[in-house]
């Protein structure tokens, strides 16, 4: 199977993405699956196609999550392109609108944006399409992800599940969102939810049996009621260090991302990870350039640089995220590349749904519902 073969991805779901990639490879990780069907020999390409380092100058400003970059990525890039640099400004964004407003603000040259964010920014004509001939290393990224994220360089994906400490919930076993919702009042003040509109409401959609991309007002009203119903018993909505309290026991249960839990389990093995029976919501994100940025040459050079397996492995090893570049697998820490939390099986992929851009009315409905949830 050729990875460069275009795959129709409508609707965009992780299951659809990876099930196709993983056909006939039951039990293997997504990365392994993608590696198996990936383009061999692509990992060595590292030149910024057609661009000499001398022509690439200036500083591009990147809006990104705190710490969401390889330890050495920026320094190595500046070393390779002496006249160019990336200034990273950290933002812990909480909503699609927030990211789109950042696209519109012209304060940044490129941003980390998930499929919802980039899709809406694209619909609002707020992005610059990359000249892929200047980013030849993009071929290292599995085609499925490139198709699913056409606005820029896809960098990572993740699932939203449940992390908990059995020893702090009376030895209870959690296997579903229903279990979590039932235990929240019982262990009042010991549960943390993600402070991110799509992930928090998307997971609640799964709890209620809805698509995590629903735009039905009735569905979203039930989602609102379900979250507001347990809100008095929640410890907090957090968008950074969501599960940090699980390590010292100040938090017993958390709606959390897989990469976060994988890192936390290294600090405290008592933390359990659950992919709930009802299904999981997932995201795919990447770096996308802002409309009319004057630093497009620097951005393209950087994205090409980041798509080198060595640099991408640094990114993955630092962030601990699930990765989407098969060629980088040998360079990724085994604690990540062989971690069952990060490496989904076919069964897991079958119940995983990726977020997608919901259109203007859908985005407005989600945004208003989220505001109402936070204000309640």
């Amino acid at each position: 199977m050729k990875t460069d073969e275009p795959i129709s991805l409508d609707p965009l779901t992780r299951a659809a993405l990876l099930r196709r990639a993983g056909t006939g490879a039951l039990g293997l990780s997504a990365a392994s699956l993608l590696a198996a069907c990936g383009s061999s020999g692509s990992s060595s390409s590292s030149a910024a196609g057609g661009s000499s380092s001398a022509a690439i100058t200036g500083q591009a400003i990147l809006a990104n999550y705190p710490g969401w970059m390889g330890k050495h990525n920026l320094a190595e890039f500046a070393k390779k392109y002496p006249g160019a640099s990336i200034k990273m400004i950290s933002n812990a964004t909480s909503s699609t609108a927030e990211v789109v407003l950042q696209f519109k603000s012209k304060q940044y040259d490129f941003l980390l944006a998930d499929t919802s964010d980039a899709g809406q920014a694209s619909a609002a004509n707020l992005i610059t399409k990359l000249d892929w001939s200047k980013v030849p290393n993009v071929k290292n990224v599995a085609q499925q992800f490139r198709t699913a994220y056409p606005w820029g360089l896809p960098t990572d994906y993740g699932k939203v599940g449940i992390a908990y400490r059995p020893d702090l919930v009376g030895g209870a076993t959690i296997t579903s969102w229903h279990d979590l919702w039932e235990l929240i009042p019982k262990y009042s003040g010991q549960t943390v939810f993600i402070d991110l509109e799509r992930d928090c409401m998307g997971s609640t959609c799964k709890y209620l049996g809805f698509s995590s991309n629903t735009t039905s007002p009735d569905d979203l009203k039930k989602v609102q009621d379900a979250i507001v119903g347990v809100k008095p018993h929640l410890k907090a909505f957090l968008n950074t260090d969501v599960g940090a309290g699980l390590v010292n026991g100040s938090t017993a249960m958390a709606m959390d991302w897989d990469y976060d839990v994988a890192l936390l389990q290294q600090k405290n093995p008592k933390i359990k990870w659950v992919l709930p029976d009802e299904g999981v919501h997932a995201y795919l994100e990447g770096f996308t350039a802002v409309q009319d940025t004057s630093k497009i040459a620097v951005i393209q050079a950087f994205l090409n640089f980041l798509a080198e397996p060595v640099q991408y492995a640094d990114f993955v090893n630092t962030t601990g995220t699930a990765f989407l570049m098969p060629a980088a697998t040998p360079l990724v820490l085994k604690s990540i590349s062989q971690n069952p939390v990060l490496v989904p099986t076919k069964e897991v992929l079958a119940k995983t749904e990726f977020d997608k851009y919901l259109g203007g009315d859908g985005a407005t409905l989600w945004s208003n519902t989220w505001t109402a949830i936070k204000a309640a």
């Binding site: 927030e98 609002a124 100040s250 989220w370 505001t371 936070k374």
Partner: protein, 310 residues
């Protein structure tokens, strides 16, 4: 020219320089110099207009608009829908929560601030200077850093919780991400702003008044109630305004110490601009909060003359 002569107790004539008569030519020149006076006023007028009148006008204008929530362009269709949305129970409940929280923390600030200011005012001048520096020192550190430090202090298994456990207190003292943690954060951050104006009022009290009150048989408590308290009221009201007004619109402290779930009106307002991009609704919220504040300030202004009269 000598307009008049005073005689002091020793009978020595003191000559005052003549005050310019309104009819004097020099005064007339000034009086006619309207452009000159306007020129003197111009910087203030310019700053007030550019920094206050225009932004407030824009906010009022935006509050009647609507937004396309795909590209976040604002359209001015002169709708009152944003104000109608604000009157839903959801937002009124949040506003009520903000008012209660800001009033309670302001009162706590007043009680603690008055106590501390009174204590400072009764010390020697050297001790007063030291204590005032101690009040001001926290301002040398970033407000954000100081607020984040409370996260570590208040969290479950944090120093306060561990101290309580060491004392044998059962259960967790888990204050973080509650309304109490927001209250503590506001109290801590705004306390100096309450102490300083009260101290200024107390420091101005003539010590002879205490002697007089004592000579007239007033007990210490009666001295405090009949002399100290009335004379401190102007400083107290100033402190309440300085603390209460920003506390009602506080955004950062609830954001950091509220855990994203105990939102005050300031958070919802900020979210409209920063997270949901609904500038018109955010503007309607801002105007509504301003109206609430103006009513509260009006009530305080009415209380001020009564306090002054005492």
């Amino acid at each position: 020219m000598v307009e008049h002569v005073d005689r002091d107790q020793g009978g020595v004539a003191i000559e005052h320089p003549a005050a310019p008569s309104p009819r004097a030519p020099g005064w007339r020149r000034l009086d006619s110099g309207r452009w000159g006076r306007l020129a003197l006023l111009a910087p203030t007028l310019l700053i007030t207009t550019v920094c206050f009148v225009v932004p407030l006008g824009l906010i009022a204008l935006y509050s009647f608009g609507s937004v396309n929530q795909v590209d976040f362009n604002v359209f001015f269709g002169w709708t009152t829908g944003n104000y109608r949305a604000f009157t839903s129970n959801l937002y009124l409940h949040t506003l009520a929560r903000s008012v209660v929280l800001s009033i309670s923390t302001t009162l706590a600030c007043a009680v603690i601030g008055f106590t501390f200011a009174y204590f400072i005012s009764r010390q020697s001048p050297k001790a007063q200077r030291l204590l005032l520096v101690a009040v001001i020192v926290p301002f040398w550190t970033s407000f954000i850093v100081r607020t984040y430090s409370w996260v570590d202090l208040l969290q479950n298994l944090g120093p306060i919780d561990r101290f309580a456990r060491a004392l044998g207190l059962h259960g967790h003292i888990d204050l973080l991400y509650t309304q109490y943690s927001i209250g503590i954060g506001i109290l801590y951050s705004y306390l100096p702003l309450m102490i300083l104006p009260i101290y200024v009022s107390l420091e101005r009290i003539d010590p002879a008044l205490f002697d007089a009150a004592e000579d007239l048989g007033a007990t210490p408590w009666r001295q405090f109630r009949r002399v100290v308290l009335p004379l401190a009221v102007p400083g107290l009201i100033a402190g309440i305004i300085i603390v209460g007004v920003p506390a009602l619109g506080e955004y950062v402290i609830p954001q950091i110490l509220g855990g994203g779930k105990t939102l005050m009106a300031g958070n919802i307002l900020a979210d409209q601009f920063l997270q949901t991009g609904n500038y018109p609704f955010g503007s309607a919220l801002a105007v509504s909060i301003m109206v609430v504040l103006m009513v509260l300030l009006f009530l305080l202004r009415r209380a001020q003359p009564a306090a002054d009269a005492q």
